[in-house]
Subunit: 193 residues, 2 copies
Amino acid sequence: MPAVAKTSDEEILAAARRIVDKHGADALSMQALGDEVGVRAPSLYKRFPHRDAILDGVLAGVLVELTSALRRAQRGRSTERDLVRLAGTYRAFAHRRPHLYALLFAHRPTGPAITAAREAAVAPLFSTLRTWLPDAQVLDAARSLVAFLHGFITMELDGAFRLGGSVDRAYRFGVRAWISAIRTAAKRDTIER
Amino acid sequence: MPAVAKTSDEEILAAARRIVDKHGADALSMQALGDEVGVRAPSLYKRFPHRDAILDGVLAGVLVELTSALRRAQRGRSTERDLVRLAGTYRAFAHRRPHLYALLFAHRPTGPAITAAREAAVAPLFSTLRTWLPDAQVLDAARSLVAFLHGFITMELDGAFRLGGSVDRAYRFGVRAWISAIRTAAKRDTIER
DNA sequence: ACCTGAACACCGTTCAAGT
DNA sequence: ACCTGAACACCGTTCAAGT
């Protein structure tokens, strides 16, 4: 009964993150992961119940990282500039780590641990929007911005914009369009009060 | 050398579409497809070079169907109403056939045959936008609307809107925000000319 | 307590053999 | 000309056997 541990939860998650970051979630096979940490594939099941639980762990780390980047983007001087910065930070993260970004939506988490981390990630956007809009509209506005960003980023990373022109310009067009609509909604509401 | 054909390209594609529609692209295994058309899996390779080519065929059919739905939505009376109808038709298609809709973006086509079908699908949106906007802005506007719609639909079908409230209201908020921004851009441009 | 090889039920795909 | 079983290299996962 020597039982010398050759690896650890942390090492496995770090290796898994490295593989997903470099080659995408599809490349994360239990065999490849075992090779990376010096253990046979079945040994991984002593520490994680299944492959999806490992992806949960990677996703949790990605959410923490994204959340702190978004918090740093939020400076509080001007609502409008914070919105532009939040959107830009989100998009920049996706550009820097496309495979990890894909995990945010592609991977359906196993446990409820991810839920809180997801809410933390959207908190900066919500608090910025609350400086402009009444609570009733914050949710709608946040959903439509995240939808635009997620759709745009997914499409550009997939190479879905094939008709030429500047993709960056289309992005700025979209963000500005959304912000001007929000500004209008905020003013309209102020008048109505 | 009797060589009695037990199936055909058309029957295979129809069966593949049925499987993807009901259970998603992941459920389309060569074995399941073979069972559906009364043939062993290896026989399918006499008609299609690989599984992805079969998904290409399914996708082509989906694009034709989506295109004709979008054309019907475009009535030409009012630009604004056509935009609302085009967006609504697109979303309704995704709601009615979520697994087939997912194919539009999840499946990377093998051949170039899909490219033309994709362009046909966005043509109605482009022609409607051209009644409002100068050519230079049509591309940006189309990209930002499709990005919003695709992102929103992906998120709602994935169950990503977990914070309560009305998802339909958020959708209408987003579409109206985008249209009002476009209207502003169109007016600004008219003045500048 | 941890690691291992062997095994199971699945994939997509290839190919020689049948008719 | 088309269909087949057998095989290959992969999956995720289970489990009895080793230390």
